[in-house]
Amino acid sequence: MGAIRPSLISRVFIQLYNGLMSSAKQPHIDPKEITLEESTVDRFKSRSDAFWSGMRDATGAPAMVLFAGMVGFGAMGRTNGVDGWFTVLSSFLMFALPGQVVLMEMVITGSSVIAIALAVTLTSTRFVTMTVTLFPQLHEKDRNRHLYATVHLLAMTAWAVSMKEFSSIEVKHRLSYFVGLGLLCWLISVPGTILGYILAGFVPAAVTLGLVFINPLFFLLTFTEVKPWINRIAICLGCLLGPFFTMLDRDSSLLTTGVIAGVIAYVIDRKWIRKRAGLIG
């Protein structure tokens, strides 16, 4: 660090203020950390800056992963003889890859319409809590009816990135950042599906294997970046209990494991971890 400039000091106060207003997870802020994170003080100049920055961030790993996943999904539709419009429309209108895979599986095996709708909805229950954990972090003014449209852009990829980045973004710019990020992910999923549908059959099976594998691998890797202990415990318990509940009943396993593992993690956190200062992430 060079000499301390007056502007730096005022920035420190802004950072302190933002930090206190935006999250209670940081009860006290070490001044050393602030100077290290100087670039995050005024991370974005304006809403459009935040929007384009979200888009830029999406063009890295998130879009790559989603694109690969959608190509894999398109290929799955083609190789099973499912209608092309059906395959592409599900990416555009559902924009939830795990749900789409469940839909595709059940359409191929000829399940009833009611059973399909129920199974897909159960797989999508994660969106309830994903939205509930992400949107309260937005600015008060942004939390209006428009969110009912914006929420369609919310998928696991954008959620994982936003949960990580929001803490270093000013509250007023968070929505723009999220829209930029989510919009690109959504828009890229349609050409990805079309490409997979067209390419299936030309591409060797080894490449398709890689494309299908990249999605779960991405989620697994983002878990290593989760900081709060309560969420780390929840992830570990989910990984341990998940296989058991999946063998019991595949469709409802997300909901049952999520609630049981989440509650246990919460109780462990509340009873033991929170009392020890320094362990709270």
Binding site: L93, G110, V113, V120, V207, I214, L220, A234
Partner: protein, 114 residues
């Protein structure tokens, strides 16, 4: 193969049902998020539940896959995951893309040599 699958109106009704079910979950989330403060206890609980759900989904995709991925032995899938995580945590920052490439290329490599 196609004789069991849904055709005609059933196919599109299934799509409509799936889209509606997915959107309803998102909309319920927006509705509830109005009343939830991010500093509250319920927020902490719901975060934990969400992470557990996402973890379950990930494990399900890796351990209980359908279609092509199911033809890969489980121990190969797990081994590749462990190696990728190893690359990821070998340095605390900016290792996501190298780790992703490691895992994906290993899987493609397995597909070629098997």
């Amino acid at each position: 193969m196609m004789n069991a699958s849904l055709e005609g109106w059933g196919l599109w009704l299934a799509l409509a049902g799936a889209c509606l079910g997915t959107y309803i979950c998102r909309a319920i989330g927006v509705m509830l998020s109005d009343r939830i403060n991010q500093d509250s206890e319920i927020f902490r609980l719901l975060s934990a539940i969400t992470y557990a759900m996402v973890a379950t989904l990930t494990v399900r995709l890796i351990l209980f896959p359908v279609g092509l991925m199911a033809t890969v032995p489980a121990w190969i899938r797990i081994l590749i995951c462990v190696l990728s995580i190893g690359v990821m945590v070998s340095k605390p920052t900016k290792r996501l893309v190298p780790a992703l490439l490691t895992g994906t290329l290993l899987m493609v490599g397995y597909g070629i040599i098997r």
